[in-house]
Symmetry: C2
């Protein structure tokens, strides 16, 4: 099988590394030096910056930031043979699936639930999909054979797959990922001018802020694409934070304790259900 | 040397375990079964729930939630011999040091920068202080000999020590620890009613929310004791979050990207300076 991967960043090149024993891989990236490294490393067999390279491939994987996926696909489709399975790796799904499933009946949206705060080819990792879940988001008109091939792709990478509606995906992700990222990012504003000794930063701080080091373009696109879910959550969060602030300010220690107890119980219950 | 530890929770019993080869330890806790376990395990040599047990000790360590430290000290001092070094392990320092250094000239405030989201004797750990920093907060009237003894206590536990003013400690901690905890706690409000599959919760979510499982009473006390620093930070955070919200809402993608880039740069610079 011949597979084209568009975007040899962290996710795209990790896919290439994970499946290269099972497929002939064509790599497309606008950065020519990345293509050079991937060819030298034997991660891709053929590569360049031209989208026409997808001709003759049986599957095309778009591993670009959410905001580029539809735009690049529009330029890509003329080069693709009818029946070629198209998938993406974007962290939001509703807008992308709405556009692409109209444009290309063989499109199935994907979202591999993995990543790092770091990005780029140099940090790609064959093991990044191990023991993770890739979500696929077919629509009622999706072809069974296409779904099967996209599932196979993720299983070859070492991930298991689950299916859900694109809208359901975006709603879940707004809480399970997007808002935590946004809140961690925004916290950096308070730390910006700080001169405090780094020895005073504990594990709590490091873990809470780890995701604030994530890629700005990737997250700009995610926040924009999923704003319909994210904006009401921000309002909800500010309301709750203001409530707790008033408990502190008005020295309502009983209410404060009761509320913290609820939060702590919720967090602990997540760990219990994990096991 | 005979040392009394008041409160055999996570920190108190970890101190006992760490120094038991170097001192005779008296354990005081209102929970009699905890005293029983600590005696059985040989972690303390003598123990009970009466504060009079501190008589004859050369050092007393109060390892209680911030809100109990001054209250318990007031009942404790009548039993202590003049010259006995008193320290505490509270996560806030200004209020505590202000009260106790007036009441007891041999008091030196401490804050071991360690902990877990879990609490209690059963989870105490001899290694919890290894490679950590304990902050001590002497005042201009603190006695050099008392400072020395408190430093020695933390060094015996395996921690290094640094000194700073109580007010400086509280200001730093409001950003390095207290606000991250508060923001992580509050996020649990959005997750409370969620039914989403736990397989969809990634490392980002888990790390961001880990500290939300912390002890409610401990954190109620910290938020109240340091409200003077925390309240303005909450306002500042809400202002910044509202600004980012407006960028998303008004589709100002350039401003959004620029702001995320700043946050990400700040976070990454922390890691660079660490090394």
């Amino acid at each position: 099988m011949k597979i084209a991967i568009i975007g040899l960043g962290l996710i795209g090149s990790s896919i290439a590394k994970a499946i290269k024993g099972h497929a002939t891989i064509v790599g497309i990236d606008k950065d020519r030096s990345t293509i050079g490294y991937a060819l030298d490393d034997g991660v891709i067999l053929k590569g360049g910056d031209g989208l026409s390279l997808v001709s003759g491939c049986e599957m095309v994987v778009i591993a670009l930031p959410v905001g580029s996926i539809v735009k690049v696909s529009q330029r890509l489709l003329p080069y693709m043979d009818k029946g070629t399975v198209l998938t993406d790796t974007g962290s939001t799904k509703a807008e992308i699936v709405r556009s692409l499933s109209t444009m290309w009946p063989w499109f199935i949206g994907s979202h591999p639930m993995t990543g790092k705060e770091t990005s780029g080819y140099a940090l790609s990792d064959i093991n990044i999909f191990k023991d993770t879940v890739s979500i696929i988001t077919p629509t009622p008109t999706s072809k069974e054979s296409c779904i099967k091939k996209v599932k196979m792709l993720w299983e070859l990478c070492g991930a298991s797959t689950i299916s859900m509606k694109p809208e359901e995906h975006d709603e879940i992700m707004s809480k399970a990922s997007h808002l935590p990222h946004l809140l961690s990012f925004v916290f950096m504003h308070l730390v910006k001018e700080e001169k405090f000794p780094l020895s005073l930063i504990g594990k709590g701080f490091r873990d809470f802020t780890r995701i604030a080091g994530s890629d700005p373009v990737m997250w700009r696109d995610i926040f924009m694409a999923n704003r319909h879910n994210i904006l009401p959550l921000i309002d909800n969060y500010i309301r709750e934070l203001s409530k707790v602030k008033s408990y502190i300010k008005e020295e309502r220690t009983d209410k404060l304790e009761e509320t913290l107890r609820e939060y702590s119980k919720t967090r602990r219950s997540l760990d219990e259900h994990k096991g």
